[in-house]
């Protein structure tokens, strides 16, 4: 378990995190685009994409919430060793990792009217991501795109609170997609 904690990080952090961030930014700027993240691998059950997201974006300044399915000692030790991010309850989290049913059960910070950026980013560990299912429209999307979302109502409620709200990453193995609060989600036609 000791070696598992130390392993799986970036071997060349400046370059690998830059490449990872470019993919992450592309996903956030173009909702529905499915991209791949590599360079790091945290302990099970953390997916590769979620591991890379955590290494690229989290540090001692970003409180993180681990939902029960990922809140195992190996993951805690790995996140602590590689990022130093403190573990907190959902209402204080800047990042949260877990499955969709786990994360929907909680209220995360959605920002304030004067600082809507002080809101949580959720990393949703999902099944295989595909460009089908819910229809997405909004900033970053030329006409419409599609993404296999776990549901639509929650994302419609989230978008209705704009400029407040949560931003989502969906991860499966090395796959990554994102859904910012601006995206209008409708059920498939």
């Amino acid at each position: 378990m000791q070696t598992q904690t130390l392993e799986g990080g970036f071997s060349n952090a400046p370059v690998q995190s830059a490449r990872a961030f470019r993919e992450i930014m592309t996903a956030m700027a173009r909702p529905g685009v499915i991209t791949a993240l590599d360079g790091a691998r945290g302990p099970a059950p953390l997916s590769q994409a979620a591991s890379v997201l955590i290494l690229t974006l989290c540090d001692p300044e970003t409180p993180i919430y681990l939902a029960p399915s990922v809140d195992v000692p190996a993951v805690r030790a790995w996140v602590t060793f590689h990022t130093g991010a403190p573990f907190v309850a959902p209402d204080r989290a800047q990042f949260a990792v877990g499955t969709w049913p786990e994360l929907t059960a909680h209220d995360f910070p959605i920002g304030t009217p004067e600082f809507p950026d002080r809101s949580a980013t959720l990393i949703v560990e999902s099944g295989p991501l595909a460009a089908s299912g819910a229809v997405l429209k909004g900033p970053g999307i030329k006409t419409a795109s599609a993404l296999s979302l776990p549901e639509t109502a929650a994302f419609q409620r989230n978008a209705a609170r704009f400029p407040l709200g949560l931003d989502y990453f969906f991860t499966h193995k090395d796959q990554l997609a994102a859904l910012p609060r601006t995206t209008q989600v409708t059920t498939c036609m």
Binding site: A13, P14, V15, S17, A18, R19, F21, R22, I24, M25, T26, M28, A29, R30, T56, L57, C58, D59, E61, T62, T112, P113, E114, F115, P116, D117, S119, T121, G138, P139, G140, I141, K142, F162, P163, D167, P180, R181, T182
Partner: protein, 289 residues
């Protein structure tokens, strides 16, 4: 060990900037505060843009820097060299070849593609700042969507000058919500703000980052009876003959001689290479010094 960390900034700083960029993309037009760092160049020379570029660059990028449209001014040359040295990226003056373009006060004439990122250097990110000096107040005005003051300003332009006299840093509304300063680009460039590329704005001294995802709706503020007009000097480029580009007016001697020339130097020289010649221009290749 004398090398710089990739792209100069330390990793924790880049993570902080990257988080701000992501929130900026999620809330288009909203100014995200960030802990701007001291850079090895003075404020006003593009420290905000440089920090954003440092956070987005990857080794495979081809980097272009323009200052008022020109690739060969001091500011553009020194920033280009800075990233050549600290990030080892390829550099170019050709808009089409660049993957990341850092700009001061212009949008390239050539339409940008989905594979490009445009990084703006921003002096004063707050569009309401000259109307309301207090940050506490302007922040409240944004949260309440209280933009009446901006319309009063444009109205006063009309009552004083007969037209909206604001010619650069012309305020826009993003996705029907946030009023945003597009940085001091000429209003000629405003229609181009709806583009295929990702746009990120960095204000170093003022410690703000904001962003526009591709295809975000950006509307220049105006009135029904005084619609927005993307104006430019009423001339063709004297060097390449282009009639649809933004022009700089140059005084060329001390007898009042003047010349209009594309502000986008890459656009102008590409046209000259294609054989276009303006009224006072010399065919390409015949001007070798």
């Amino acid at each position: 060990m004398t090398e710089y960390n990739f792209a100069y900034l330390d990793e924790q700083t880049k993570r902080m900037i990257r988080r701000a960029i992501l929130k900026g993309l999620a809330i288009p037009g909203y100014q995200v505060p960030f802990a701007s760092r001291e850079m090895p160049m003075p404020y006003g020379w593009g420290t905000g843009g440089v920090q954003v570029s440092a956070a987005v660059l990857i080794p495979d990028d081809t980097f272009k820097v323009i200052d008022q449209g020109a690739d060969d001014t001091t500011n553009a040359v020194s920033i280009r060299r800075f990233f050549e040295k600290t990030a080892g990226v390829a550099v170019t003056e050709a808009t089409r070849q660049a993957t990341v373009i850092q700009t001061r006060h212009r949008i390239p004439e050539e339409a940008l593609t989905e594979n490009q990122i445009l990084v703006y250097q921003v002096p004063i990110p707050e569009p309401l700042r000259f109307l309301e000096p207090s940050e506490v107040e302007t922040r409240k005005m944004h949260s309440l969507e209280e933009y009446g003051l901006m319309h009063v300003k444009l109205y006063e332009d009309i009552s004083k000058h007969g037209a909206i006299a604001t010619a650069y840093a012309y305020p826009v509304k993003v996705e029907g919500r946030y009023v945003m300063d597009p940085s001091p680009i000429p209003k000629f460039d405003n229609p181009k703000l709806e583009m295929a590329a990702i746009q990120i704005f960095g204000a170093g001294r003022e410690q703000r980052i904001y962003a526009l995802p591709p295809y975000t709706q950006v509307v220049s503020l105006d009135f029904d009876d005084y619609p927005f007009e993307a104006s430019k000097a009423d001339h063709a480029c004297d060097v390449c003959g282009a009639e649809d580009s933004y022009l700089d007016e140059l005084i060329v001697d001390d007898k009042g001689g003047r010349l209009f020339m594309c502000s986008d130097t890459d656009f102008c020289s590409s046209r000259r290479r294609e054989g276009h010649v303006g009224a006072q221009g010399i065919p390409y290749g015949e001007d070798a010094a």
